[in-house]
């Protein structure tokens, strides 16, 4: 179970290989890769700068990973989130979950990216032809995360 917050890019294939090497109990891995889009809110985006809260970011990502492990039978989980200046097409985030069966892998991966979007302290600053602007949070992200709230 790993959380990495880094400026550098990551190699999805290498991460997948490292996650599964020698672990033959794993029956399936779900990977989500988030990328920088070149359009947002009708404006073209030439670059994006991700700011974060060092310390709290790692703490929050580790907490949501622990929550996923408590909810699903996972053999492994990995979250890599980048910060700093990125350009359209660049990778921002990788979430990978491994389990004996696909159901747990798919569901836990979806849960992790939905929860990460509402809990991990990252903020995006977009560069557009009209100038720089901070990305606003979407209600749809809160709704997506609320789907995973425990019924109790």
């Amino acid at each position: 179970m790993t959380v990495k917050v880094q400026r550098e890019d990551f190699d999805v294939g290498a991460e997948l290989a490292a996650m599964t090497r020698g672990k033959t109990a794993i029956g399936g891995v779900t990977l989500f890769v988030g990328l920088v889009r070149d359009m947002a809110g009708g404006s073209s985006v030439s670059a994006m700068t991700l700011e974060h809260y060092p310390g709290m970011t790692e703490k929050q990502l580790e907490a949501i990973e622990a929550e996923a492990r408590a909810r699903w039978p996972l053999d492994d989980a990995l979250i890599i989130h980048r910060y700093g200046r990125l350009e359209p097409g660049d990778q921002i985030v990788l979430v990978a979950t491994a389990s004996a069966h696909r159901g747990a892998a798919f569901d836990s991966c979806h849960f992790l990216i939905d929860w990460l979007k509402t809990k991990a302290p990252f903020w995006k600053l977009e560069a557009t032809p009209e100038g720089e602007r901070w990305v606003e949070a979407k209600d749809s992200d809160d709704d997506a995360a609320a789907r995973w709230a425990k019924e109790s």
């Binding site: 988030g34 991700l50 700011e51 974060h52 809260y53 310390g55 709290m56 703490k59 929050q60 989130h81 921002i92 985030v93 990216i113 990460l116 979007k117 509402t118 809990k119 991990a120 302290p121 990252f122 903020w123 995006k124 600053l125 901070w134 990305v135 606003e136 949070a137 992200d141």
Partner: protein, 83 residues
């Protein structure tokens, strides 16, 4: 107490971190934010709409009724937009 500002809160207030001894009336996040607004017109402007000012105390998300004390690390930031 150490207070950190992120994203547009930091750019509006003009500093990333402040360290101070809060007055006695500051007992929770709500009273801290009200007191911070009195520190400068920039603070008042940045903190005007509490709906878009989220808070973490000691790196955990909390609500405005969460208690704060002198040794805490308090972060104020807009709703997060990672992923």
């Amino acid at each position: 107490m150490k207070v950190l500002y992120f994203a547009w809160l930091r750019s509006k207030i003009g500093v990333a971190t402040e360290t101070f001894d809060p007055p006695a009336e500051v007992t929770d996040v709500g009273t801290l934010v009200e007191w911070l607004k009195t520190r400068s017109p920039k603070h008042a402007d940045a903190l005007a709409n509490s709906k878009v000012v989220k808070v973490a105390v000691n790196q955990e998300h909390v609500a405005y009724d969460h208690p704060v004390s002198a040794g805490d690390e308090v972060a104020l930031f807009p709703p997060v937009t990672g992923g």
